[in-house]
């Protein structure tokens, strides 16, 4: 048992109306002991051979603005109680957000009932006992305490700035915090509390736009006015965009654009994807597939990365070298895929049961020392890209992706930005792109819209295929 339930606490969860919300931070939905009590009750109610309980308590708020005014402003408190039962070599999951005794009994019984009615799983392993985890610190009280007024004041300032520039602002400012608990009937108990904040802004002019985005667990790290000023400059600099013929260009991808392009390769490093023969790394491990200047890790402990230090089963996450100077060296493994491939798990498994096994979710690219300005200065003719949009996989083995440029695309001529240009569609193999990287910037925490956040540098890529052009 993870923690002995005190009688008084167990009493609280007998009916939703009796729950006292002993919050450990301002505005918290449930306290840490409330979550442990809920988990403890489920473990007590469960009649399965083994039982795992994961609970997420989330408090999030998001202020959304457009046309220089706030048009949506929302807040939510949610609880997700997820129970996995193991019964005679079978496993299934049931979830609820109801915390009365009857509902907790039902969710435990439901997971067991589902498991009872499926065939045995040959890959199922016993649940883990208590593990040791490296501490990570991603909780910032000031972020958890941010109010609608705090967000509204910041938004008001950037909207006024846009209005003064005869521009139009749209975007979001969000803050929130999540408390996560993972426990099981074998004695494992893991907790991870974290805060999150994000600011994203698009500045529009009649025929152009600019964009900037940042996120951090510490809202003090977010400077809406700096981001707004950057987006504003891009919108102004790309007025009256020219139409450039499609073709192969040197592309300078700012970190957000690089992130959304290269982020697509994360699942290819899954051992299960390789076993399923749907990874672009099938028959390519230990062979040079991208340029020697490309090195990639998965590292949840990197100072610019976020996330719990355990995986879906509670295995401690390890730092894994995925690509070493252009050569894919390692995959990541869940416990089940490690057993199948006769190696050790790396702590990257998803919650069970699932089809996909595992994936590296905390990518960290090795960077260089070339600033975007240096990349521009060294380019005779090329395209500077702020961000990419609507990226989809066209061909999975060569990893050909399609997508659009958006919100700030520029022609670079003779070492300088010469004008804004209309947005391009690209059809580009990621493997080929990473083989043609001429310069790398310092790796930063990138924020995009298509891939999850990673630590990634700006990239100057030769021979990038912009296949068609749109009308703006």
């Amino acid at each position: 048992m993870a923690a002995k339930a005190k009688k008084s606490r167990l009493k609280r969860v007998k009916g939703a109306g009796n729950v006292r919300l002993g919050a450990h931070v301002s505005g918290a939905h449930f306290s840490a002991s409330d979550l442990e009590d809920i988990a403890e009750s489920i473990l007590k109610f469960s009649e399965a051979d083994e039982t795992e309980v994961e609970i997420d308590s989330t408090v999030e708020a998001l202020t959304r603005f457009a046309n220089n005014t706030i048009h949506q402003n929302v807040a939510e408190q949610t609880l997700n109680i997820s129970v996995r039962a193991v019964l005679d070599g079978r496993t299934a999951r049931a979830t609820t957000n109801k915390i009365d005794d009857e509902s907790l009994r039902r969710v435990a019984a439901s997971a067991m009932s589902l498991a009872r009615n499926e065939p045995k799983s040959p890959d199922l392993l016993p649940m883990l006992r208590q593990q040791k985890y490296h501490p990570v610190a991603h909780f910032f009280p000031a972020t958890a305490a941010a109010t609608p007024m705090d967000r509204a004041r910041a938004v008001t300032r950037v909207c006024k700035m846009a209005g003064a520039n005869k521009q139009t602002a749209a975007g979001i400012f969000s803050t929130g915090f999540v408390q996560t608990l993972l426990t099981n009937s074998k004695g494992l108990l893991a907790r991870h509390d974290y805060t999150e904040s994000e600011f994203s802004i698009t500045i529009l002019e009649e025929k152009s736009s600019g964009w900037a985005k940042a996120n951090s667990p510490d809202v003090a790290e977010i400077d809406p006015e700096v981001l707004a000023a950057s987006a504003s400059r891009k919108a102004a600099a790309s007025r009256e965009p020219r139409e450039l013929k499609p073709g192969h260009y040197t592309a300078i991808l700012e970190p957000s654009a690089a992130l959304d392009l290269v982020g697509s390769i994360f699942y290819d490093f899954s051992a299960t994807a390789v076993m399923d023969k749907r990874s672009c790394l099938n028959d390519r491990m230990d062979r040079k597939v991208v340029g020697e200047n490309i090195t990639l890790w998965d590292d949840v402990y990197h100072p610019l990365q976020l996330g719990a230090p355990w995986d879906g089963e509670g295995m401690p996450r390890q730092k894994v070298l995925l690509i070493d100077h252009g050569v894919p060296k390692n995959l990541v493994y869940s416990r089940a895929s490690a057993k199948k491939m006769k190696t050790k798990p790396t702590g990257h498994g998803f919650t069970l049961p699932n089809d996909f096994g595992e994936a590296p979710m905390n990518l960290v690219f090795g960077g260089g020392d070339s600033s975007v300005e240096k990349m521009i200065a060294s380019t005779e003719r090329g395209v500077l890209v702020t961000r990419l949009w609507y990226i989809r996989e066209v061909e999975p083995y060569e990893k050909v992706l399609t997508g659009m440029t958006r919100d700030g695309t520029f022609l670079v001529e003779e070492g300088k930005i010469s004008s804004g240009i209309r947005n391009f569609r690209f059809n580009q193999s990621v493997l080929a792109a990473l083989s043609n990287v001429e310069m790398l910037g310092p790796a930063v925490r990138g924020a995009g819209e298509e891939a999850f956040e990673m630590v990634v540098p700006a990239m100057k890529i030769n021979n990038f295929h912009f296949s068609e052009v749109t009308k703006f």
């Binding site: 729950v19 609880l79 299934a92 957000n97 589902l114 979001i172 399923d276 049961p353 089809d355 949009w389």
Partner: protein, 485 residues
């Protein structure tokens, strides 16, 4: 449910809201997947909570909670009011709402078999049998199947006196065969990619798909694609299968007609639209045979966009979107309809769950059937590529330029279906493409396809939409660019 909603409305109004509505939603979901004759995912989920939306000082606020005690709901309503007051800091003008009546009603979509009453063992067994059939085909390296079911029990209550109880049952299922050989990964899905077919129906939908009987052919086509002819690059006539045309409608008609995009409210994320308001009833969107409707009514069919009332209490409607090729209508809400001077909302506000704000979403955006039989259309086509089942899709943030690729294609030569084509793709500009449509198949070839994974909004919401379509022919379309070097 009624009591919780009323606590929320009363508190919001007492604290100064000039308008308030509340949605209580109780959602149950079951997801099953199988892979290579083993169960992958087996999950049941339930969630219950309330979302309260208010207008205070002419600005919006929204808060949601799953603490369904009197204190919890009242605190949620008070938070919504406080948020609205904060919103008013950056207000330029007061929110206006198009008028709407109050309704007290109860509605449930018809279905024959409750999927939650079908033993899960039987559902798993069906998927495993389909997996087995696909894996019998030499060269299939991965066989997958999925089923998903959702029951949404929801109550809408508003300060203008509406109280609307709706129950919706969604079902969906599909299979996929993947084949890796040499340096190529090919796959085929049945009856559609991305989870198969989905509809506002019960388990009878799954039974009607006959997954097991279609599994072997699905596997064979995945393997055969390796030796098929590569899609050429150039300009060609194309015929799109119904499910691909459904996604074409979704991306190049459904999204650009969302009035919140047109008015700039999605500029930072989902993007805007080329369909600016001066184009209404003036733009030639498509050829004369193109007629598209947004129809949420049950008589349109059991689509993922079918309901009796939207999530701000407006009755389901049929809005003509393209009439004989002319652009004639938007998807709207009470607020957006008011802002462009329309008399009434089109009834398209929808929310993913109780903790999300309703926003303008597609309902069933469907192209009306044409007059052609499928056989006559093929016989009438001299040189074309028939493209079927979506593989990838992408469109710019104003919805002008798109590129799609499909899982499979066939040459049409001299009025006959010929060789299989691999890696088919096409691209174009939205209005040019729809104006090149010169033939649409008839009602007997028309299917109301379900798209379960439409993402929009911040925080992101995933919504199911419906798209009725039959195979259609388009002239002078750019093909093969996706694979050009």
């Amino acid at each position: 449910m009624q009591q919780w909603a009323e606590w929320g409305i009363e508190t919001a109004v007492r604290r100064g809201a000039s308008y308030a509505d509340a949605r209580v939603m109780d959602i149950r979901q079951r997801d099953i997947t199988t892979k290579n004759e083993e169960v992958g995912t087996l999950v049941e989920a339930e969630t219950l909570g309330i979302g309260i939306r208010v207008i205070v000082n002419g600005s919006w606020g929204f808060a949601s909670t799953d603490r369904l005690t009197r204190d919890g709901v009242q605190a949620c309503a008070a938070q919504a009011v406080a948020i609205a007051k904060a919103s008013s800091l950056a207000k330029r003008e007061d929110v206006g709402l198009a008028p709407e009546n109050a309704y007290v009603d109860t509605w449930q979509n018809p279905f024959l078999k409750d999927p939650f009453r079908i033993p899960v063992e039987r559902q798993i067994d069906l998927l495993l049998k389909a997996n087995e059939e696909m894996l019998r085909v030499k060269g299939v390296t991965l066989a997958e199947g999925s089923m998903s079911f959702k029951r949404i029990d929801q109550l809408f209550v508003s300060s203008i006196g509406s109280s609307i109880h709706q129950i919706k049952m969604h079902s969906g299922a599909g299979i996929v065969a993947t084949s890796f050989a040499g340096s190529e990964i090919q796959k085929r899905s049945y009856p559609n990619s991305f989870g198969g077919q989905h509809a506002l129906q019960g388990y009878e939908l799954v039974e009607s798909l006959d997954l097991v009987a279609n599994a072997q052919r699905t596997g064979e086509e995945a393997v055969e694609l390796h030796s098929a002819v590569q899609c050429p690059e150039g300009t060609s006539t194309i015929i799109l299968g119904g499910s691909q045309l459904g996604l074409q409608i979704h991306e190049s008609i459904g999204h650009p007609i969302e009035l919140d995009r047109v008015l700039g409210q999605e500029a930072n994320f989902a993007g805007m639209s080329f369909l600016t308001t001066e184009k209404l009833r003036k733009l030639k969107y498509g050829s004369d045979i193109v007629n598209v409707v947004a129809d949420a009514r049950l008589e349109h069919g059991p689509g993922l966009g079918t309901f009796a009332y939207d999530d701000e209490g407006v009755p389901a409607q049929c809005t003509p979107i393209i009439t004989d090729g002319l652009f004639t209508g938007y998807l709207s809400s009470r607020e957006s309809a008011s802002s462009i001077g329309e008399k009434r909302s089109g009834g398209t506000m929808r929310t993913e769950s109780w903790n999300r704000l309703p926003m303008i979403r597609m309902t069933n955006i469907s192209i009306n059937p044409g007059t052609w039989s499928y056989d006559d259309l093929i016989a009438d086509t001299d040189d074309a590529i028939f493209m079927e089942t979506n593989r990838s899709w992408s469109i710019d943030d104003r919805r002008y330029h798109f590129q799609f690729s499909t899982e499979i294609g066939w040459e049409i030569k001299g009025g006959k279906k010929g060789r299989m084509i691999k890696n088919p793709s096409y691209s174009g500009i939205t209005t040019e493409f729809w104006n090149s449509c010169d033939a649409i198949c008839s009602r007997e070839h028309w299917t109301l396809w379900g798209t379960p994974n439409c993402g929009k909004g911040q925080p992101m919401q995933t919504m199911g939409t419906g798209h009725g379509a039959s195979p259609a022919r388009f002239r002078n379309v750019k093909i093969g660019v996706a694979f050009s070097k």
